[in-house]
């Protein structure tokens, strides 16, 4: 299995608080992604990174920011959490562009009350 660790695994927070989710990889892959999974929507891309300090928005990026200061770490921040951001968040990595064989982390269940 690809070395991807997401932390925390579960988190409960209150509306309006900041939240940071961490994705750590040991594969030295260039590309990293954050997806959210919601019933009826499958997985939707939030942000992705194609290198250190190089990031871009996905289809559901509003309310989220990301940072990648090292190859191995990709952080997802909810500046002010809302109930609509209650979801399961997945980090994924891939080695090459275009072929996109993604390896996924185990997910973070986030509940915003």
């Amino acid at each position: 299995d690809a070395g991807i660790t997401q932390s925390p695994r579960h988190k409960v927070t209150e509306t309006g608080t900041p939240v940071t989710l961490r994705c750590h990889q040991t594969e030295n892959h260039r590309y990293m992604y954050w997806y959210r999974q919601d019933p009826g929507h499958g997985l939707r891309l939030i942000h992705y990174s194609y290198g250190v300090k190089d990031t871009d928005k996905g289809e559901v990026s509003d309310g989220y920011s990301v940072s990648r200061s090292k190859t191995e770490d990709f952080l997802l921040t909810l500046e002010s959490a809302t109930s609509s951001q209650t979801s399961v968040y997945f980090c994924a990595i891939s080695e090459s562009r275009g072929k996109e064989k993604l390896f996924f982390g185990s997910g973070t269940q986030l509940s915003v009350l």
């Binding site: 590309y31 891309l45 996109e100 064989k101």
Partner: protein, 115 residues
Amino acid sequence: AQTVTQSQPEMSVQEAETVTLSCTYDTSENNYYLFWYKQPPSRQMILVIRQEAYKQQNATENRFSVNFQKAAKSFSLKISDSQLGDTAMYFCAFIASSNTGKLIFGQGTTLQVKP
């Protein structure tokens, strides 16, 4: 816009039988890749099979095979000799070769294999 549609929210099959999960997609791209991912109750996303659009031959991986119809933009997954461990949610996914990172998923099909 590129979209992926899985029209079967839930399916069930008896153990040892064959089941087919449907997926259609919409794109104007000519070069792309299609995937089926499996998500068991553990929540882990597992790549089942991958198809390159420029290859006419359908991909196979042991008991899993696809029926790729490029003109119809259809990409169905066939599971032969179904096993209890195949119980999971299955996602069809698409990516155009020109779109880094933008893997587009269908809504998912929950498959239950019954003993």
